[in-house]
């Protein structure tokens, strides 16, 4: 804001901030850096049928859970943004719960609730992913719908549109950015989960479980290539979305 000759305050804060940025960035760069030096093991991991199968499993389950999170979460986000009802604060509180429940407890809870039917199955993996990620969709879509001027919806109705038509032609398109962001956050959260998945479904093996397994059985070096691949996937999708959202909001 201001240029001052001796701006100790800004320098101090920038210094502390830099430490934090370095702390986040350094492990990521180390991981990629060490892998680049040892490109052979990465190529080998790409030929490892266990790894490939696990990646396929992760991708498959996380996409389904994200799809379910959107289907279930967007309507609730809409109601939280646009309607007044009794117990709204309670509902909002419940929506936020999954974020604060310890991951190992999430696994135990789901097993207890849905019994061994979901043990070691795709269903179990998807249910875990849905449980830990659905809050992101609800909260993001709620924020998106909150930003839709109610007058737009009023006018649309006066022009002859039913509530459901207004939702699909006005509210949803305008809130689309927020909902999409929430969807990608939910997907990233689903891919990141490991603790609860290890409780509910060690098999079929997902990439995040394989990383743990390789680390436990063969050590750090062996788990590194698949960690790199998994993170590359995660960060790649994340960066892609950031760029996409940036482009969309510019053109709008």
């Amino acid at each position: 804001m201001n240029k001052s000759k001796r701006d100790y305050f800004d320098y101090l804060f920038a210094g502390i901030g830099s430490v934090l940025i370095a702390y986040v960035l350094y492990p990521i760069l180390t991981l990629f850096g060490e892998q680049i030096v040892d490109i052979g093991s990465l190529l080998k991991a790409f030929r490892d049928e266990v790894v490939l199968e696990a990646l396929r499993n992760t991708l498959f389950t996380s996409l389904i859970s994200t799809f379910l999170a959107l289907i279930l979460g967007v309507p609730l986000g809409y109601l939280l943004a646009k309607r007044e009802f009794k117990g709204k604060a309670l509902v909002q509180g419940i929506v936020d719960l999954p974020v604060v429940i310890p991951h190992s407890v999430v696994g135990i809870m789901l097993l207890l609730a849905f019994s061994r039917r979901i043990l070691d199955s795709y269903t179990g993996i998807i249910m875990v992913m849905l449980f830990v990620s659905v809050s992101f969709v609800v909260n993001s879509s709620r924020d998106g719908f909150l930003a839709v001027d109610p007058k737009l919806e009023y006018v649309a109705r006066s022009l002859g549109a039913s509530k459901i038509r207004v939702f699909f032609t006005v509210s949803l398109p305008i809130a689309f950015h927020s909902i999409a962001t929430g969807g990608v956050m939910a997907w990233a959260r689903a891919v990141s989960e490991v603790g609860a998945i290890m409780v509910v479904a060690y098999y079929p093996k997902t990439a995040q479980v394989v990383v743990m397994e390789y680390f436990n059985n063969y050590g750090l070096a062996a788990s590194r290539p698949i960690a790199v691949i998994l993170m590359g996937l995660s960060l790649g999708a994340f960066a892609l979305l950031r760029a996409l959202i940036g482009r969309l909001s510019k053109s709008a």
């Binding site: 007058k151 009023y154 109705r157 006066s158 022009l159 002859g160 039913s162 006005v170 398109p173 305008i174």
Partner: protein, 346 residues
């Protein structure tokens, strides 16, 4: 004809209490009131966005109190225009037509027609965010009228426009109304818009429809002091009437007709004429006054006068103030016609 019967509803800070009035076909009906009076809520209730808690709304003989807005067919234009930001101007105007499942050709015809009437043909491919305020207002009106509605609900249509755009749109609005045979309810806090556009006017104060009548009726004969004071009758005096004479604080004021007992009168500040000498004229009231204060309000002068203990306010132009040499302490004469005195029985 649209008729509201004792409509009651509250919403957030606003409420409507026992609102009743009629709007006839072809009327340009102005709802005039200060901000916070509940005018927007009234329009939203007519549009069907909110339903009344009590009372009924009758439209062409049918009770539409609880009819969904999409089944009313009124053209509703909210204050911020509310153009759909993710559609072009063309798509905005076509929105209501697509719901009605017209063929693309038909839609295109209707849109082009209404666009040519409202002079926005050159804007059809634009996005709402690129429009000026005046352009956005035209598009919003076009979108409402495109569905074939003859009944237009306008919420402060000129509130966000600059004065020259407003003047132009006011002139055009008269033309559109005539050409398209519209009935209009127009909500505003501007006397100017009421005087220039209104056939009939309803004054809304504190959620009540305080007075309804022709513009001339309401402005020249406000029904009570609240309406009078809202309409700019700054001088409200209480006294005892005895026939055509009012006595207040020892000051005598000639009334337009005979009254008896305690009454209040109201006189507009711009109806008071100041002069150095008591001049011979048709003015029935000519009071000796002392200037207490002079305030320049953008080229005009608001003069506060003391008339035997009563306070009067007069509005005069710069040139007359300079001519008479108005300044605090100056003695002069304040004159006004008896017909400029509006009497309310207390």
């Amino acid at each position: 004809m649209l008729e509201l019967q004792s409509v009651y509803r509250s919403w957030k800070d606003f409420s409507l209490n026992d609102v009743s009035f009629k709007v006839y076909e072809g009327d340009y009906f102005i709802v005039l009131g200060p901000s916070g009076a509940g005018k927007t809520l009234l329009l939203e209730i007519i549009a069907g966005i909110f339903f009344p808690y009590r009372g009924r709304i009758i439209w062409k003989g049918k009770d539409i109190t609880f009819l969904e807005p999409e089944k009313r067919g009124f053209a509703y234009v909210p204050q911020n225009y509310a153009l759909f930001p993710h559609m072009t101007v063309y798509e905005n105007i076509a929105y209501g037509l697509e719901i009605r499942k017209l063929s693309e050709d038909k839609i295109s015809n209707v849109v082009k027609n209404i666009a040519s009437v409202l002079n926005i043909e050159h804007l059809l491919e634009r996005r709402p965010s690129t429009l000026s305020g005046g352009e956005a207002q035209r598009v919003a009106i076009a979108r409402g009228l495109a569905i074939g509605s003859k009944f237009l609900l306008l919420d402060e249509p000129f509130a966000n426009l600059d004065p020259s755009t407003t003047s132009r749109l006011i002139l055009e609005m008269k033309v559109w109304k005539r050409e398209l045979g519209l009935t209009v309810i127009h909500v505003t806090h501007s006397f100017e818009e009421a005087l220039l556009l209104g056939d009939r006017v309803g004054v809304m104060l504190d959620g009540r429809m305080s007075q309804v009548g022709s513009v001339k009726e309401v402005f020249s004969n406000p029904r009570d002091e609240n309406i009078a004071s809202f309409l700019g009758f700054e001088n409200i005096i209480e006294g005892m009437a005895n026939g055509e004479l009012l006595e207040a604080n020892g000051v005598r004021i000639v009334l337009p007709t005979r009254y008896f007992g305690r009454v209040r009168i109201a006189v507009r500040s711009e109806d008071i004429i100041l002069s150095e000498e008591p001049f011979r004229s048709s003015l029935r009231n000519m009071l000796e006054a002392t200037v207490v204060d002079v305030m320049d309000i953008g080229g005009l002068f608001k003069v506060t006068l003391d008339v035997g203990g009563l306070t009067l306010k007069a509005l005069v132009t710069r040139s007359s103030a300079v001519e008479i040499g108005i300044q605090p302490g100056k003695k002069l004469f304040a004159g006004f016609k008896a017909t400029a005195v509006h009497v309310f029985e207390a």
